[in-house]
């Protein structure tokens, strides 16, 4: 008897085909993702199966559980799914380098979908991460569950990926928040905890992976234009000009699937006058992704993204009494120009029913320079190429054993006035074994080998293991546990810096060792209904042990010279609780609370720049054609900062808890003009609450915006 097949089409109740939905046979690894015409096929269903349960899920839609009788070898089943404004059940993710349900991942994850990005008017990655449970953005640093403090972004402890390609700059190892095509992002996956077993260096505290949209079957053009105004500050001392300061922009995207070739492209232009003097900027970007189906079993993809910006070089305020102005001796004629180019290609090959191969190669090129004369001590310039190539194979060894393995070469080349001409190479191999032999239990273990070579420093080899368990206690109750190691090789900037910067001299340090972390976590997620109100609950207890942490520090207690040094050991323990619900059929609620104890073991005090309490909330109220949305974010002020900053920054203790409300009214015009068009009126920092994101930096004040989003 041959294996059975189930196939069909997935639509919503408007008869629109649903592309990218996950269809999975409960209790097995069998599943499929719907294509652009909504079609899906699941093969290799054991021939003795009589009845199966299908789980169908998709961002923005209610997850569906369907019982299906397999009364023939080929069963045709069309499926309708229902739109749900707030995602209660999570969906498929690719955090483990394979597609799976988020409930099956043994480590904490959060997902931001494209709707959450577009509704909030997000144009840069950091704006999106502000709403993720357990995540903070400390100016240029992404901080997941307290693993990162503040270092002007240098040496990110979070791996940052675009469709799986590394996107940290080769020189500073920092995140370039404007280097992502937010108009063409399908979802952002945030893995919390060490991820070096699969992703290597930088995944010390977690991984942020942006997944781009797939082209649509029919040609689709999206336009999103907006303009906003920063309201005048409440305090006369903070008013720094008499004109209206605007924030305006336009995004467009195009998507079309042809016979064997498909294309998605987008472009963005943003002009920001800023709420502060000498903080304005202009940025523009363009993105294209092309897929070519060589055969039914192989596909070539090419991704190209460019982003450029011209901005003032704001660093810190003049003081609390003039919080919107830079220090009085700042040269306001100086600008910083920055270019970011990503060019990635991949080749996907289905080798047979059990083996899948992915080969990819690409480069992330960054360049920045300020407008000082090259002979000036404050002149800064750096150009870096982060080249990456990888081969990955997924093999279904048997029905209950899945193996993912691969090899990776990463070459960083830097040509810089401040860091010199440097090369940093990393050679890696990894594997991950997933077993589901015991009923309802998925066991994952794996490891990655990384070998680093860099000029003038000792070669370094790291082995990063991990293990995870995911146990389905019932259909709606999943337990998880994981342990994993992370590491971060020092960035070129940390090793080789020789720069005068804002009153400091930064010195090189060739003796830097990699940072190491061990992450431990247990948690569960549970779905239930109370009086027909769906409730999704996720709880994690976590601990991160961090060693050899690299911090920019004064070379000695009385010197104005700064050097990056391995000086800290830290332990961060905490608990995170997330709840989602859609109450009484009209009120969407999302709330998360993260309680942490970020301990600096070296100094026996709370780690600098860490908050001990994060509380993020979201409310959605759909009222026919109008939807009200509101985000409220609370962050307890960080207890400790680097007090020596007080030598150059005034009023470093002017810090308060953060209370920020972002609200918006979305008016859908579809009934009026027969088109998916929305008008969005939004207020960021609605209450005009004043706080500092980082020492000596007033966070964005109230911004009122009006936008239109049209799908043609």
């Amino acid at each position: 008897m041959p294996a059975k097949i189930i196939e069909g089409i997935i639509k919503d109740y408007n008869e629109e085909f649903i592309s990218g939905a996950s269809i999975r046979i409960e209790g097995t690894l069998l599943g499929a993702i719907s294509k652009v015409n909504g079609s899906y096929v699941i093969k290799n269903i054991p021939d003795d199966s009589k009845k199966i349960s299908l789980i169908v899920s998709m961002i923005g839609y209610k997850t569906l559980l369907l019982d299906i009788n397999l009364d023939s070898n080929i069963v045709h089943k069309d499926i309708y799914i229902e739109i749900q404004p707030l995602q209660i059940e999570e969906v498929v993710v690719s955090a483990n380098k394979k597609v799976q349900q988020v409930q099956e991942v043994p480590i904490s994850m959060s997902v931001i979908d494209s709707r959450g990005i577009m509704d909030r008017g997000i144009t840069e990655l950091d704006e999106a991460l502000l709403y993720v449970p357990g995540v903070e953005v400390n100016q240029d640093n992404i901080n997941i569950r307290g693993t990162s403090g503040f270092s002007f972004g240098i040496g990110s402890r979070i791996a940052l990926l675009l469709d799986g390609f590394p996107m940290l700059a080769g020189d500073n190892n920092d995140a370039k928040f404007d280097a992502f095509p937010m108009m063409s992002i399908n979802r952002i996956e945030v893995v919390k905890g060490a991820g070096s077993a699969l992703y290597g260096t930088s995944a010390l505290g977690g991984v942020v992976n942006l997944i781009t949209e797939e082209p649509k079957e029919n040609a689709a053009i999206n336009i999103n234009a907006f303009s906003g105004i920063y309201t005048k500050p409440r305090y006369e001392q903070w008013a720094w000009n008499s004109k209206n300061n605007l924030y305006s922009g336009i995004n467009t995207s195009y998507s079309k699937k042809f016979t064997a070739f498909d294309l998605i492209a987008s472009a963005q232009y943003i002009k920001d006058d800023s709420y502060r003097e000498y903080d304005d900027g202009i940025r523009a970007s363009a993105f294209a992704k092309m897929n070519y189906a060589v055969s039914d079993f192989s596909k070539i993809s090419l991704l190209l993204n460019y982003a450029g910006s011209d901005a003032a070089d704001w660093v810190y305020w003049n003081g609390l009494d003039s919080a919107t102005k830079p220090p009085s001796n700042t040269n306001k004629d100086i600008r910083i120009k920055s270019n970011k180019l990503s060019l990635f290609g991949s080749f996907n090959q289905i080798i047979d029913d059990y083996n899948f191969m992915l080969i990819k190669a690409g480069a992330f090129v960054t360049d920045f320079r300020n407008s000082y004369d090259e002979k000036n001590l404050e002149y800064r310039q750096s150009n870096a190429i982060n080249f990456n190539t990888e081969i990955q194979i997924n093999s279904e060894i048997s029905k209950s054993h899945n193996l993912t393995y691969g090899a990776n070469i990463n070459i960083i080349s830097v040509d810089s006035k401040i860091y010199g001409n440097r090369i940093q190479n990393m050679y890696s191999g990894y594997f991950q074994w997933e077993m589901s032999g015991i009923d309802n239990l998925i066991t994952t273990f794996g490891a990655r080998f990384d070998h680093e070579e860099a000029e003038g420093v000792q070669n370094n080899t790291e082995i990063s293991p991990k293990m995870g368990l995911s146990y389905k206690l019932s259909k709606l109750f999943n337990l998880r546990a994981s342990v994993g190691r992370g590491f971060r090789a020092p960035a070129v900037a940390e090793r080789y810096s020789t720069v005068a910067y804002q009153g400091f001299d930064v010195l090189p340090n060739l003796k830097l060792k990699p940072e190491i972390s061990w992450s431990y976590e247990i948690g569960f997620n549970y779905e239930t209904k109370i009086y027909d109100n769906p409730i999704y609950l996720d709880v994690s207890i976590f601990r991160n042990d961090l060693n050899n942490l690299i911090e920019a520090t004064f070379a000695n207690a009385n010197s104005a010279n700064i050097q990056f040094q391995n000086i800290k050991e830290a332990r961060i323990q905490g608990i995170e609780l997330s709840v989602k619900s859609f109450l009484f059929g009209f009120l969407g609620l999302e709330s998360s609370i993260t309680l942490m104890d970020p301990k600096d073991i070296t100094l026996n005090q709370t780690l600098n720049y860490r908050s001990e309490l994060l509380w993020y909330n979201r409310i959605l109220v759909p009222l026919g054609d109008i939807e009200l949305q509101c985000d409220y974010r609370f962050k307890k002020k960080s207890e400790n900062i680097d007090k020596q900053l007080g030598l150059i920054i005034n009023d470093i203790n002017a810090r308060v808890d953060m209370h920020v409300i972002d609200a918006r009214i979305i008016y859908k015009l579809s009934k009026l003009i027969n088109s998916e068009t929305k008008i969005i009126f939004s207020a960021r920092n609605l209450l005009d609450y004043y706080y500092t994101e980082m020492v000596g930096n007033l966070a964005p004040t109230r911004l009122l915006m009006l936008g239109i989003e049209a799908k043609l």
Binding site: Q237, D321, P327, G503, N558, F584, L587, L647
Partner: protein, 160 residues
């Protein structure tokens, strides 16, 4: 139910305070310090021993290191250097925690790249005796102006 939800949200929204605020100007005191450099054309030290000139106003006499007292919050201080090789210059302190008694106000020269490499080159003294610094009491909302004479060839003794 919808109405109640919206009302609860609005009450919550407007129950927060406004966060940071500038200090009230009426409570601030201003202290202007002028520096006069004696024989400025010939007296200034060479560039390799002149990294910065600053003014520090101490709430208590510095007892070990000028920089340590500044870091510990014992003094008003601006990290930025005043202009070099000129006849006169000055700085302004906006004092937000008045009333306060300033017992030692000094012009200091940083003579090496180390921040500890500081020497006193002039003090505020009403009598003109460089061994007897004068104190000044700063009250809220008041304006004060003082002058310090600096002679690189005849500097006051260090305070410790």
């Amino acid at each position: 139910m919808k109405f109640i939800t919206i009302v609860v949200c609005i009450i919550f929204l407007f129950s927060c305070d406004g966060g940071l605020e500038p200090t009230k100007y009426k409570d601030n005191a201003i202290l202007d310090v002028s520096l006069n450099f004696v024989d400025s054309n010939s007296n200034w030290p060479s560039k390799d021993s002149l990294y910065a000139i600053r003014v520090a106003a101490f709430k208590k006499m510095p007892d070990s290191s000028i920089i340590n007292d500044i870091i510990s919050g014992n003094a008003y201080f601006d990290f930025n250097s005043l202009p070099l090789y000129i006849d006169s210059s000055g700085t302004r302190f906006i004092i937000k925690d008045a009333p306060v008694n300033l017992v030692y106000i000094a012009a200091v020269q940083q003579y090496d790249s180390l921040l500890t490499a500081q020497r006193v080159i002039g003090i505020y003294t009403v009598s003109g005796d460089k061994t007897k610094p004068s104190s000044i009491t700063i009250n809220p909302g008041q304006y004060y102006s003082i002058t310090i004479n600096v002679d690189f060839n005849n500097v006051p003794p260090m305070p410790y």
